[in-house]
């Protein structure tokens, strides 16, 4: 069983990639997608498994450096990670690897090596660093035929076989076969573009062993760190003095607020990186005169926290007003029952009664001042936004 190590993707794939299955990361040109394959193979190594990396667009040495850039030192896994060098011969450089393709333009040469290697090796995660480069060198039809046979052998020998494929404008037929016919799973990795690409996402186009989903996840790539799910905007709102600014600062790795006389008069802004997720947080002021701001910000957000002071039920009517404004944008939300560290704080179940909300609305007990519960609240909201289960 192999995990990709990519937040949320493993869940969407039903927990893992079963043995014998093939998966392609189908990458739009210009989008940073090859890291998906790297993270998958490194996750295998970290969990004690074996990996095989077919280097076709750069040398194994440079590939090891790329792993290092992400903070993944593969030198510690020398026994478990095998490289197939399908690059150095191309530029006339010598190779130190056990498996070297002497003629990378000839698919038969690579084919022979792959068959021997798959038959000789323990069940492994086999990653083709760039299937498109192999296709460029060896031809579209020839490569597709080879992939069909590699996938069959991988199934027989319990390998998981993964490909990075950049979807250059090949023939329509080739792209159709790649997307529909020869892999058990296809993960689309694309860019959101308006004049330039300014955001990246992935989605499961198909996975024969998992339930269908049409969910897309925005992601960012961090060095070190790898892929993190990116949530561009989460709003924090709630009545005056409920502790919104404290909540934003407690949750964030870095944050800034615009205050006057101890209260927020513009916005709190923070950035959170937690358990493979990355999010920008925006806190609104609590006074009624700023209510139009809530709707404005929520219009572009992906979810919101309503922060209430658990010791002040007198403010709940105002909180309900703010909840209605924010809810009108149709976003998932979590109620943060703040100041649980103070005497007389109402319990979440008491708060939910005051709000007359369905029992399944999450109310998370929090003491923002000492960070108690802030990450629980974050996880609950992120799960609601991304459809996760943890």
């Amino acid at each position: 069983m192999v995990k990709t190590g990519i937040p949320r993707l493993d869940e969407l794939l039903g927990g893992e990639i079963p043995k014998g299955k093939s998966l392609v990361y189908y990458i739009q040109p210009g989008v940073e997608g090859e890291i998906f394959g790297l993270q998958t193979i490194f996750t295998t190594l970290k969990k004690g498994g074996n990996g095989v990396y077919i280097a076709s667009s750069t040398s194994p040495g440079v590939t090891r450096e790329v792993f290092r850039d992400f903070g993944w030192n593969v030198e510690g896994f020398k026994e478990n990670l095998t490289f197939v060098d399908a690059y150095n011969s191309l530029i006339g450089a010598p190779s130190d690897e056990k498996y070297t393709v002497s003629d990378p333009d000839n698919i038969e040469n690579l084919n022979e090596i792959m068959i021997t290697l798959m038959q000789e090796s323990q069940p492994s995660t086999i990653l083709f660093g760039s299937l498109s480069t192999i296709m460029d060198l060896c031809g579209e039809k020839e490569t597709i035929e080879a992939v069909r046979s590699w996938n069959k052998i991988a199934m027989l020998y319990d390998h998981v076989i993964v490909y990075n494929f950049t979807a250059w404008p090949y023939s329509e037929q080739t792209l159709k076969i790649i997307k529909n016919d020869i892999f058990d799973a296809v993960i689309s990795i694309g860019g959101i573009a308006e004049r330039v690409i300014f955001g990246q996402y992935f989605s499961i186009f198909k996975a024969s062993w998992a339930e269908e989903t049409d969910k897309s996840m925005l992601f960012r790539v961090f060095r070190p760190g790898g892929i993190k799910i990116f949530i561009p905007k989460i709003v924090v709102t709630g009545p005056f003095n409920a502790g919104k600014t404290t909540f934003v600062h407690s949750l964030s790795n870095r944050a800034i607020s615009v205050d006057r006389l101890g209260t927020t008069i513009a916005l709190d802004h923070g950035h959170v990186e937690y358990k493979g997720f990355s999010a920008d947080i925006f806190g609104t002021p609590g006074q009624k005169r700023f209510d139009p701001v809530i709707k404005l910000i929520c219009g572009e957000a992906m979810g919101f926290f309503l922060v209430v002071d658990s010791t002040k039920p007198g403010d709940f009517a105002r909180a309900e007003q703010m909840l209605e404004i924010a809810k009108s944008c149709g976003l998932p939300y979590v109620i943060v029952a703040n100041k649980q560290d103070l005497p007389g704080a109402l319990k979440p179940e008491e708060i939910i009664k005051h709000f007359n909300l369905p029992q399944d609305v999450p109310v998370v007990p929090v003491a923002a001042l000492d960070k108690t519960g802030v990450y629980d609240a974050f996880e609950v909201l992120v799960n609601k936004i991304t459809g996760g289960t943890r």
Partner: protein
């Protein structure tokens, strides 16, 4: 003035400012001054016009390119320059990325080069709010040494399209005489104009085709220090 100009006044006075979204091939024989012409267009774009310039280099390391500008008293503003160095890692040298230098794994790794181009476009357009961006590729000929013509064509098909979508200007250097004429004709389909350079009787000539209603005349030029000096019409 935020337009795309070549910065060679005799040519600019005929072609005028270059339309946003244009892709241009700069083609000429070896040792005819193409690289200096490209560097002058880069300097003019970044310094005179305030554009951002992304340069993909497959022949000289980024450090050498920046040195050339410094040595010739043509300092470039760091914040407007992005260099994608495709050579340093291939020759086994230590390569460190900086704010304006990104390192590609190899000239074969067109996927990686494409990612770096996209990242610079995002940096300049979204973060630095520079709407006029020039992409210079030096050179397509080196890319074609490592990859076949179809592969390079597919790469160009995508990125000339991105140039159009972004309203940017693309300038792609090609060595004349290194490739089949058929390959050059194939590539030319993707371009809106040509800057042609030729050598005759030990003199260098330049003209622009496709960016104005008719080709400009051939102009004789020489390289004066690091600058292009037009000597007159042929």
């Amino acid at each position: 003035m935020n337009d795309f100009m070549l910065g060679i006044k005799e040519l600019d006075s005929i072609t005028g400012s270059i339309k946003k979204g244009s892709n241009i091939m700069l083609i000429g024989p070896p040792m005819s001054g193409k690289e200096t012409i490209l560097n002058n267009i880069m300097y003019n774009g970044a310094v005179k016009n305030g554009n951002a310039v992304i340069k993909v280099t497959t022949r000289n390391p980024a450090s050498q390119i920046l040195e050339w500008f410094n040595e010739n008293n043509m300092s470039l503003p760091d914040s407007k320059i992005g260099i994608i160095d495709c050579i340093t890692k291939t020759i086994g040298k230590e390569a460190v990325e900086t704010e304006n230098i990104k390192i590609a794994n190899s000239p074969v790794d067109l996927t990686g080069i494409g990612v770096k181009i996209s990242q610079f476009f995002e940096d300049f357009f979204i973060k630095k709010k520079i709407a006029e961006i020039q992409l210079h590729v030096d050179s397509l000929s080196t890319l074609m040494m490592y990859s076949n013509i179809q592969t390079v064509f597919r790469f160009l098909h995508v990125f000339t399209g991105r140039i159009k979508a972004a309203g940017a200007m693309g300038l792609f250097l090609v060595e004349d005489g290194m490739h089949d004429e058929k390959d050059i004709i194939t590539l030319k389909q993707l371009f809106d104009g040509l800057i042609e350079v030729k050598i005759e009787n030990d003199s260098n000539f330049i003209r622009v085709v496709g960016l104005s209603s008719k080709p400009t005349p051939w102009f004789e030029f020489e390289i004066d220090g690091a600058r292009i000096k037009i000597l007159g019409e042929k």
